[in-house]
Amino acid sequence: MSFLFGRRPRTNTVDLPKQAKEQISKLDGPGAAAKAEELAKTLGQMKFVLQGTQETESSPEQIYSLVTGMIQEDLLYLLALNLYRLPFESRKDAQVIFSYVLRFRPPSASPKSEPMALSYVINNRPEVLVELCNGYNHTESAAPAGTVLREVLKSDAATAIILYHDPSEGSPGAKGLTGIQPEARQSGRGVFWNFFDWIDRGSFDLSADAFNTFRDLLTKHKTIVAQYLSTNFDLFFNKYNTMLVQSQNYVTKRQSIKLLGEILLDRANYAVMTAYVDRGEHLKICMNLLRDPRKMVQYEGFHVFKVFVANPHKSIAVQKILLINRDKLLEFLRHFLEDRTEDEQFIDEREFLIKQIRNMPPTPVEPAQKPALLGSQAR
């Protein structure tokens, strides 16, 4: 694309990160608008180096020097931090830059190895990921940051960094992956916990984007998440139930009930599920969902409710609630979402639940098995 470089002297690829850094630092000062424009140009050039165009290939050597330059100048962090201040097109450019840089492997590296910039971020500069999450603090940066995050979350290490980020644990700054202690309970001040607010309070776009990232965090890397949820069971589900499942926001409510069902029914989360369905108060929340005026909320709620009922080792508390309401429930379920006549699986499951409830012994029975003790209760 000669036109890009033809008119003015070509900036050396190596200097681009440095130049961008300078321009970012001047975004506050006098002539900020002009600087923003220059920055936009620099970012455009960087994007071009990274992705080439539809007609031209990019050169791995140039990318390599660009990526190393960006690491040296700490540009990833600066970009993440200032993402919301960039002009519209530059935010998209930044998103592309992030995606490419965090995915880039030098041609010599094994295709299975961690991309070099990602590895750097994970081990030395986890704040980049934290700041990307903080992109949800601003409408402007939410979508580009979210897009980058969801891509990065394909890496289990990056997922762990975000989940386990906890500023209250002394030694602020670069801890990276090695600093993670999976057994330590979270204070709730880490960046992950902000997702609850972003999802619950944000505008539709922001909230929905944050929810997608949140879902990825909780579903992509099952063993990490299972451990995490076990350790932080109470903190997590308290927030989840109060802020998301009982949110005033229809989309948040519906999506989070659905996600809850998915989390509980995931084999990897077996211990979490047994602990969850053991609690009477969880069942109460869930039964209220069945009575929600909105059909899709009822429907999503049903898929959580069924786990309580299908549990062969119901706790005394759960049995009590079900038994007290047995007749009502049976009557209710018989007419529950009757117009779903095409949804055979739903109909079957509803029948199954009716049968289960009908066949419960008249008084609560001590369950043969108790849920695995979870971090929250054991320690």
């Binding site: 539709f204 929905a208 047994t274 898929h303 062969p312 117009d339 095409e342 079957d348 199954f352």
Partner: protein, 587 residues
């Protein structure tokens, strides 16, 4: 932005139309005085993943181009999602255009595509119905319902998505495609605009999926057209996508470079308005309305509507009132059968289909306006109306179930569309007859046809299929009776009943097992039952049902047992048992 504040910023003026996914209103932004189009989507009335809607919004919101409909905002109000878009004139009416018009439109579309492609976006559903025209003659690309965002501009997609007649061969073959697929669709759109319909418009859309990859690319014929125009179309329709030029390259094509100013398109609008006035129809033109969602297999057999097709086929004989009558007479509670009879189908497709429950709750009149318009084809070119052809996709590469569903929906609906809807088919038997045809007979013909190698045999089969389809058109009741008798007779014959039992898939003798056409495999799948949507959504392990089970499902026959009842219990028990074994030591 607080939720309520978002809504109160706009004064809603009047309805522009209601469509597949909600109702579109004209409104004024109080803060700026600007006219906007607001689409209300009732999230309650759809099983559709909210994520799908969201992904369209996110693609739209990252576009700022004069050639693409501009997204403004979206917010929730209760369980309604409001999507605010720039207000934009008319939909395009294919045919009726001359070469100069087409050149201008193509240039504007190329500019839009150039923008999208450099952003790493593929539209995947370029066609006249998705092109909007403003009163000043500006052209915009709309409907990002199935657009996709690539994270890497060099990467490819495999998802089978789009509208058959406009789909590029590489998309159909699922061999991986990129932004060049839009260029092909643009070429087809150009042909559509000048000819009044896409190539193969008279062919069954299912068959089109075979034809496009197999046949040589369509060309523009006719001495009245310039060489440049013909060459432009030939360039767009290069079957080898690697040799197909990009949007940027095509912008340098002579046909495009010599195209006139957009103002020249104003006469189209004027003509349109006059014409519209003459018809004395309530002015309910539809403006912005996208195909917000890809096909949801469950309710969709009737979704297949092929606009431009109806231009060619429908004979416009006062059918509107007929369809309306049918709608009135039709007891929607007859669901799930309702959608199998064509007249309601046309109605349902646009508005009801996806949400029978809603319709039950409020059978509102405004919807009829759109449905009524349907059979009277010409009106569809007002905005990309509900009549917009549904797109479908395979939800994921490994979900055969979904893919099966999308396939089956093809025959059913388009048949409906190609035939003038018949209002009299409201008796139960007739409805069953129609259902029978759409779900059993037609797909079976498709399958056997696909499996048959010998040309003579194929011809014979097609003749039978045509004959049957004629029967279905004229006498669905008789069709039902015939099938009923056939089944009874088969069951009464001990030998036959054993031999033709559903469990046995008889391989046709003399027919090569491996059918020569690759897409045949797709057709074979087409027999399965499109009831899987929510199942796929729940990631259940439902196996595709034996196609023959459909017959058993017919009334008067035994209903399949409740074999799945134990499924959930088994799964959960399995988890518990598994969990025991895996329990953490010491915990």
């Amino acid at each position: 932005m607080s939720i309520e504040a978002g809504a109160s910023q706009y004064t809603v003026l009047h309805e522009l139309g209601s469509g597949s996914f909600g109702t579109v209103y004209k409104a004024i932004d109080k803060t700026t005085g600007e006219i906007v189009a607001i689409k209300h989507i009732d999230l309650e009335s759809t099983d559709e993943d909210i994520q799908d809607i969201q992904s369209e919004i996110s693609i739209l919101s990252s576009c700022t181009s004069p050639y693409v409909t501009q997204y403004k905002a979206s917010f929730l109000r209760g369980h309604k999602l409001w999507i605010v878009m720039e207000f934009f004139g008319w939909g395009l009416k294919p045919g009726n255009l001359n070469e100069a018009h087409v050149a201008i439109i193509c240039r504007e579309l190329l500019l839009g595509l150039e923008y999208l492609h450099q952003e790493g976006k593929i539209h995947r559903d370029v066609k006249a119905a998705n092109v909007l025209l403003s009163t000043s003659g500006k052209v915009k690309l709309a409907d990002f319902g199935v657009a996709t965002q690539l994270t890497n501009i060099k990467s490819q997609r495999n998802t089978f998505v789009g509208t058959p007649y406009w789909m590029a061969p590489e998309v159909i073959q699922e061999a991986g495609y990129d932004y060049k697929a839009d260029i092909w669709s643009l070429g087809i759109t150009a042909l559509e605009l000048i000819n009044g319909g896409p190539p193969h418009a008279d062919v069954h859309p299912m068959k089109v999926l075979f034809l496009i990859p197999k046949q040589s690319a369509p060309r523009l014929e006719g001495s009245q057209y310039s060489r440049e125009f013909k060459d432009f179309i030939a360039q767009c329709l290069v079957k080898d996508c690697d040799r197909r030029p990009s949007a940027k390259e095509l912008l340098r094509h002579k046909f495009i470079r010599s195209a006139g100013k957009v103002e020249a398109l104003q006469e189209l609008i004027e003509r349109r308005q006059l014409w519209d006035g003459a018809r004395e129809r309530p002015s309910h033109p539809k403006y912005y309305e996208e195909t917000l969602h890809t096909m949801s297999p469950k309710n969709d057999p009737d979704e297949w509507v092929f606009d431009t097709l109806s231009v060619i086929h429908a004979n416009g004989q006062g059918l509107a009132s007929g369809a309306e009558e049918a709608l009135k007479r039709l007891d929607i509670k007859d669901a799930p059968l309702d959608y199998s009879s064509p007249p309601p189908a046309t109605v349902i497709r646009g508005t009801v289909r996806r949400q029978p429950s809603v319709v039950l709750a409020s059978p509102t009149k405004p919807r009829q306006a759109s449905s009524q318009r349907r059979p009277l084809q010409p009106d569809m070119n007002f905005g990309n109306s509900a009549s917009t052809v549904r797109v479908f996709r395979r939800v994921s590469d490994n979900s055969t179930a979904a893919q099966v569903d999308s396939d089956i929906s093809v025959p059913g609906t388009t048949r409906d569309e190609n035939r003038p809807p018949m209002a009299e088919t409201v008796t139960k038997d007739a409805i069953y007859g129609r259902r029978l045809f759409n779900k059993v007979i037609d797909p079976s013909f498709q399958e056997v046809h696909a499996q048959t190698g010998n040309q003579a045999k194929r011809d014979a089969l097609s003749r039978l299929a045509d004959a049957w389809s004629a029967l279905d058109a004229i006498d669905p009741e008789g069709e039902y009776q015939l099938m009923k008798l056939l089944l009874e007779k088969v069951q009464n014959d001990p030998k036959l009943s054993v031999h033709l039992s559903p469990s046995k898939t008889t391989s046709r003798d003399g027919t090569p097992q491996a059918s020569p056409q690759k897409p045949g495999a797709k057709l074979v799948l087409a027999q399965n039952n499109p009831h899987l949507k929510s199942h796929r959504r729940r990631q259940s392990s439902m196996l595709p049902e034996d196609p023959k089970e459909k017959l058993v499902n017919l009334p008067g026959q035994a209903i399949p047992g409740m074999e799945h009842t134990k499924q959930l219990a088994d799964v959960l028990y399995g988890r518990w048992a598994g969990g025991l074994r895996n329990r953490w030591p010491g915990a």
